[in-house]
Symmetry: C2
Subunit: 340 residues, 2 copies
DNA sequence: CTGAAAGCGCTTACAG
DNA sequence: CTGAAAGCGCTTACAG
């Protein structure tokens, strides 16, 4: 192994000196900006390698006022959702010369103590903000500072006109619930609603309600409980319905994770799926097709949404030409848990 | 909504001027370093809020030579693994005054073009590098530059002595396979190995082999196939065994994701689980307890490993006192898919 | 094709 | 308790 140990912090000046050029020239070769004689460039590159020189991002941003990096701000989203989203964003960024830095806010919003985000206009050319990732006030403040922003799964705070990327939660939900009603003749369809803090939940529930309404089924509030996009909450909610003898012949879970919890609770109570109670979900998580019975669900283009968000952000940064709303289609996937 | 629109880029000088103090004083109040008269501090804070001032990270790092930021470098890991890991890391960082920035390298290693990582000694006080996140050469180069590093699920390249955090893959695997042998009398136990690029796979397979050996079962190479930590590859591998009439009465999948694929393939072929073929996994993914039959597996402290990595890194940065190896215990979870 | 020099926004001895 | 000034490592007109 080559010993690459160096006196710490090689700077552009060290490179310039050793290559017998000015720092301006080194800067030009590193950035491929301005003209440099090929031989000079070669010499500089070889010194860079010798010295193991790495440009200082901060200094660079400071001097050039641009970062060529995109920021992603996330709450602590879980499971399959994150990786698909990230893959999509990276695909969207690929081909453009931007890096992607991520800041996750599992810990909740920060106090005045650290009164600025680690990702902001000073180290980022633009931000993708996922639902709940940031308070509306904070978003307003960022846009006021002229930072290009694209919202994922969250609509723009009033008056700010921030582009938003999401997918067809409402229509997807309506379709799957209508399927339950029309094809499988279910009338007592319960809904395990998603997290109250995510807009997706609202639209999915609305789709559910519209399906009922359009098929002359009276909405019964008893049939809606919080599944919170997680198995455990869903399990408890279903346990409660069962304990209270609530009559139901189908469950529409706001995501596949909560469908999982519903299935467990139903099984424990000896219910047969789908004969006694049909179960459908949303998202089409990687595990859904492997369940028994395989889960009927709505395929959500999570990766596609990530990609679209990245593309919109880059367009916003580079040309200010964006769509205020990007709404990707969803598609019902009929498997066995609905009775098909 | 308050209009916070400001002339872009408020600097410390703007704040200083408006507060009628020097930039040095503003710096002192922002950083709570050095003494400042309470009234002065109040005045400065109020100007900061008025002007919506946000310090420039790059300038700060440049001037102070410290970033109070930790970096996490990841390959494109998928599913539940990521969120648990991240939660752990954030827990580990909580209480210390560091931010966490993440760089994911789904796209694969970068060329000379961008010859430096977006996360390095210039914007980070230390790095957590997850398996495969970075080539060994690159790691060597980073340590040569004196950047504190902790490796997650990857042992230190020879001679570098970088601290490593992982969990007991080998013993966990041995235990679960022995359970299959001793309790359920299985002798033809197949193994769906994990990704060849992750060390975990190696240790899990070794545990499997040791269990066989210690119970006088001759290792049969036909019984090992690549599951690659994913359902699809596992499904194909099991299909192949079945098509070739390979005799087997149990499958030890290197993770729960591949166990999922195995189950699907077995079901499709009409095999009963666990009567005909027992299936066990590794990790204890969130969905595992919800499967039918519930999946017997090894609980891996993914979150704990993340937490430990963060703690080790902070110790390394602040005191250079670290454990070269942190090996967290794993625990078999007996459910129904093994026959229990 | 190349260099000297100002400036990006901050921090930190040093002096008072 | 506060300020003047140098310096962190880079980029970018400007001049040649």
């Amino acid at each position: 192994m080559i010993d690459t140990r160096e006196p710490s912090h090689v700077t552009i000046a060290d490179v310039a000196q050793r290559a017998k050029v000015s720092t301006a020239t080194v800067s030009r070769v590193v950035n491929k900006s301005g003209l440099v004689a090929p031989e000079t460039a070669d010499r500089v590159w070889s010194v860079i390698r010798q010295l193991n020189y790495v440009p200082h991002m901060g200094a660079r941003v400071l001097a050039s006022q641009k970062s060529r990096t995109l920021g992603l701000i996330l709450p602590g989203i879980s499971g399959y959702f994150f990786s698909e989203l990230l893959r999509g964003i990276e695909n969207g960024v690929a081909g453009y010369d931007y890096s992607l830095l991520i800041y996750s806010t599992h810990r909740g919003v920060t106090s005045e103590q650290d009164f600025y985000l680690p990702l902001n206009e000073h180290n980022t050319d633009g931000l993708i903000i996922f639902t709940e990732g940031l308070e509306k006030d904070e978003i307003a403040r960022l846009t006021a500072r002229q930072l290009p922003i694209v919202l994922l799964h969250q609509s723009s705070p009033a008056g700010l006109g921030i582009p938003c990327v999401t997918f067809e939660n409402k229509n997807g939900s309506r379709a799957i619930v209508e399927h339950l009603i029309k094809v499988h003749k279910r009338r007592r369809i319960a809904h395990l609603a998603g997290s109250e803090r995510q807009e997706d939940s609202y639209w999915r529930e609305l789709g559910y309600r519209q399906a009922l309404e359009q098929n002359d089924i009276v909405f019964d509030p008893v049939l809606v409980a919080l599944g919170d996009f997680e198995a455990e909450a869903a399990e408890e909610a279903v346990d409660k319905w069962l304990a209270e003898d609530v009559e139901l012949d189908a469950i529409f879970a706001a995501d596949d994770e909560s469908a999982l919890g519903a299935i467990t609770a139903l099984r424990r109570a000896g219910k047969r799926i789908p004969q006694d109670i049909a179960v459908v979900g949303f998202d089409d998580a990687p595990f859904s097709r492997h369940l028994t019975p395989a889960l009927t669900t709505v395929r959500a283009p999570i990766e596609g949404a990530g990609k679209a968000a990245a593309e919109q952000l880059i367009r916003l940064i580079e040309s200010s030409q964006v769509d205020l709303l990007t709404l990707l289609p969803t598609e019902p996937i009929f498997r066995q848990s609905c009775g098909c």
